[in-house]
């Protein structure tokens, strides 16, 4: 009976160790509840295996269970593979280090360890501690190099990397099983070798991951740069169009002066009055109404953002929406990551365009206001009267079917809540106008 309790305890610590590592190294946050469920599943399976004396199956089966379970949660196969492999690796490393400590520092004999359950239990606890420290360290390391964005990005590179990782780890498993079963490893050399292999393998994987990560980052940057370039091209086209207008106006202006000159020369005041009233006034009205607000985008000195905004505005105008722009000061710096800024404004503009399209009076206002402390971005759009209240739009699964209005507002909120303490998001609906406002406080005041 005591031996059964000891076995249960032993397996419990082992499985708890695995769960703990997963919890620590997962970059995508995983809730404690889900980890506990996983722990239960893993514990049951491991216990059954142990009772049936199938110990050597523990590692491969736990890995497979881990991959399946994680896939159920995250739905990202590469990511799950990576997490599972890293978990097993850290576990193996902890095991190796503990073995080394027990044999070299505490001077215990290997067969003594294998046959004494109490020492095994202590060994387990030491493994647990070491794994905890390592996984925490890796978590901090990952956080610093800002992995999350890259892992979300699907790529063939991750697949290759994962296969690279998978092959050696399988071979290590087989190697260790054969090694443990073939002869008594009382040899100290073997233990050192074991530790050495695992450590070098871990370092190799970390280096590989880092290299591939940087590679992907570069690819992403290249992609964004290309997009930025095409957007800027659209913007320059628009500017050319506007400057063309200006040239026409210049031409007209000279013509008008000449006509007036003719009237004055012939002293035909009545004719001049008629010309002014019936030709000049209506014409000048047309010029006044012409859209030159586009020129105001020149105040945005951040090229990616400028290109992005102009393309959104062109998109809105092509759908028959009147866009008012109000930017009076130069915008040189924003205390927000520019990809996040484009994401957020992209969603807000898309919402505005979708909502404005549906109503009769299609208007969008785009404003950037600058003060010493902050920069405020305001996007207002006209919307139909039956627009649902704000809190409905914020709800997670909200979508007005087929229209998709308001989608993503929750996402915007998440980005801001998770990453930025200096950004405020305000939304309101008033008099059939939907107003979205982002206040970006300058970082140095925080």
């Amino acid at each position: 009976m005591p031996s059964l309790i000891l076995t249960i305890l032993y397996i419990f610590i082992l499985t708890a160790n695995i769960s703990n590592i997963i919890y620590n190294i997962s970059i995508i946050k995983i809730s404690i509840k889900k980890v506990l469920i996983f722990e239960c599943i893993l514990f049951t399976i491991s216990f059954l295996l142990c009772v049936n004396k199938q110990n050597y199956l523990l590692v491969p089966i736990s890995t497979i269970v881990m991959i399946i379970y994680l896939y159920n949660i995250f739905k990202k196969i590469y990511y799950c593979l990576a997490v599972s492999i890293f978990t097993q690796l850290i576990f193996a490393l902890g095991d190796g280090i503990t073995g080394a400590i027990l044999v070299f520092i505490l001077k215990l004999k290997y067969f003594e360890i294998m046959n004494n359950f109490k020492i095994q239990l202590i060994m387990c606890l030491i493994i647990f501690l070491i794994c905890y420290v390592i996984s925490k360290g890796i978590r901090i390391f990952f956080k610093r190099i800002y992995f999350s964005d890259v892992l979300k990005f699907k790529s063939k590179d991750t697949l290759v990397l994962n296969y690279c990782l998978l092959l050696p780890i399988i071979s290590i498993f087989f190697y260790s099983i054969i090694w443990k079963n073939s002869h008594e490893p009382s040899n100290k050399l073997m233990i050192v070798l074991n530790l050495f292999i695992i450590v070098s393998f871990l370092i190799l994987t970390i280096l590989l991951t880092k290299a591939s990560n940087e590679n992907m980052k570069k690819n992403l940057e290249q992609k964004y740069r290309d997009i930025e370039l095409t957007k800027l091209k659209e913007y320059t086209d628009m500017l050319e169009y506007v400057s063309n207008d200006l040239r026409c106006f210049k031409h007209d202006y000279i013509n008008i002066l000449q006509i007036m000159n003719q009237y004055l020369k012939s002293d035909d005041i009545e004719g001049l009055k008629k010309f002014y009233k019936f030709e000049l006034l209506p014409e000048s009205k047309k010029i006044l109404e012409k859209d030159i607000c586009f020129m105001l985008l020149k105040h945005i000195k951040l090229n990616p953002f400028k290109g992005f905004i102009s393309s959104k505005i062109i998109n809105a105008q092509s759908k028959g929406i009147k866009v008012n722009i109000g930017i009076t000061e130069d915008i040189e710096q924003l205390s927000i990551n520019s990809i996040d800024l484009c994401r957020i404004t992209g969603i807000l503009m898309d919402n505005a365009i979708e909502a404005a399209e549906l109503c009769d009076n299609k208007v969008i206002d785009f404003l950037i206001l600058k003060t010493e402390l902050s920069i405020t971005l305001i996007i207002n759009n006209s919307c139909s009267e039956d627009t649902p209240p704000i809190h409905k739009i914020y709800e997670k699964d909200f979508s007005t079917k087929g229209i998709g209005r308001g989608l993503g507002l929750k996402f915007v909120k998440n980005i801001i809540d998770n990453k930025y303490t200096n950004v405020l998001l305000n939304t309101k609906i008033e008099n059939s106008t939907f107003s979205q406002e982002i206040i970006i406080n300058n970082n140095e005041y925080f």
């Binding site: 030159i292 109000g326 404003l367 402390l373 405020t376 704000i390 809190h391 303490t421 405020l424 305000n426």
Partner: protein
């Protein structure tokens, strides 16, 4: 007292606007006076400074030929006359009203074009300011002022549903009937500042009792007038019900 101030640096246009205002006042049968009509912005500031009790309708040119623009002048005037009605006059058609609205809470802006348009606009502005002024003076609603950093907004207490903490320290979210607003502050300080109408129903919620329409005791959910919901903790449920029934 409501009066009118005009600041325009072009002599001819100044006269033009003054005339338009005078005729429109007669047309509207509103008894208001033009206190000053000048091209010197300093005169305007001095006058407003010495008449702090009065509220004005300002007609300001955006491009004053002096050192400061009309917008900056408006900002200075706002310090002394927070309730005043500012109307800009400009020839820049590419600027939008919203810029003025957000910067100095301007009432409207008039584009210098044909006379008829100016007349109509002046008429509208005077009427709107006049009505608003007398409406505000007759009914006083309780408000709370919230600082968003770049600007300050007033909210009527009767529009507020509840305050909520976010997972970022000191960042609070205000839910009103019309929208959601984020600002920096502490729930504790708000609780002290607000009147007895508000009750803390949860570690992270401060609720306006006046806007509650129902409380689900079993699931501990509060429903508000616009069907939005929030939670009440077991600890505060009794107190909340007691407070609602009073």
């Amino acid at each position: 007292m409501l009066s009118i101030i005009v600041c325009e640096d072009n002599e001819i246009q100044k006269k033009q606007i003054e005339d338009i205002i005078k005729t429109e006042l007669i047309n509207l049968k509103i008894n208001l006076e033009i206190d000053i009509c000048t091209k010197d912005y300093k005169e305007v500031i001095d006058y407003v400074k010495s008449n702090r009790k009065k509220t004005f309708i300002y007609f300001l040119d955006v491009d004053l030929k002096d050192q400061i623009s009309g917008i900056e002048l408006a900002k200075i005037l706002r310090k002394y006359d927070s309730k005043g009605y500012i109307v800009f006059i400009t020839s820049h058609s590419e600027m939008s009203l919203l810029t003025f609205e957000y910067k100095v809470q301007a009432l409207d802006y008039i584009i210098k074009s044909d006379l008829k348009n100016i007349k109509n606009k002046v008429n509208e502005c005077i009427l709107e300011a006049f009505n608003d002024y007398y409406k505000n003076n007759t009914e006083e609603k309780a408000t709370i002022t919230i600082n968003f950093g770049s600007r300050i907004n007033k909210f009527y207490l009767c529009d507020i549903l509840f305050f909520e903490t976010t997972n970022i320290g000191h960042k609070l979210r205000l839910h009103t009937i019309n929208g959601q607003f984020e600002f920096y502050g502490r729930l504790k300080e708000l609780e002290i500042q607000l009147n007895s109408c508000f009750y803390k129903t949860h570690r992270s919620y401060l609720v306006n009792i006046a806007t509650i329409i129902s409380i689900d005791k079993k699931n501990r959910i509060i429903q508000f007038v616009n069907n939005e919901t929030c939670f009440v903790s077991t600890m505060y449920l009794k107190g909340l019900i007691k407070k609602c029934l009073v």
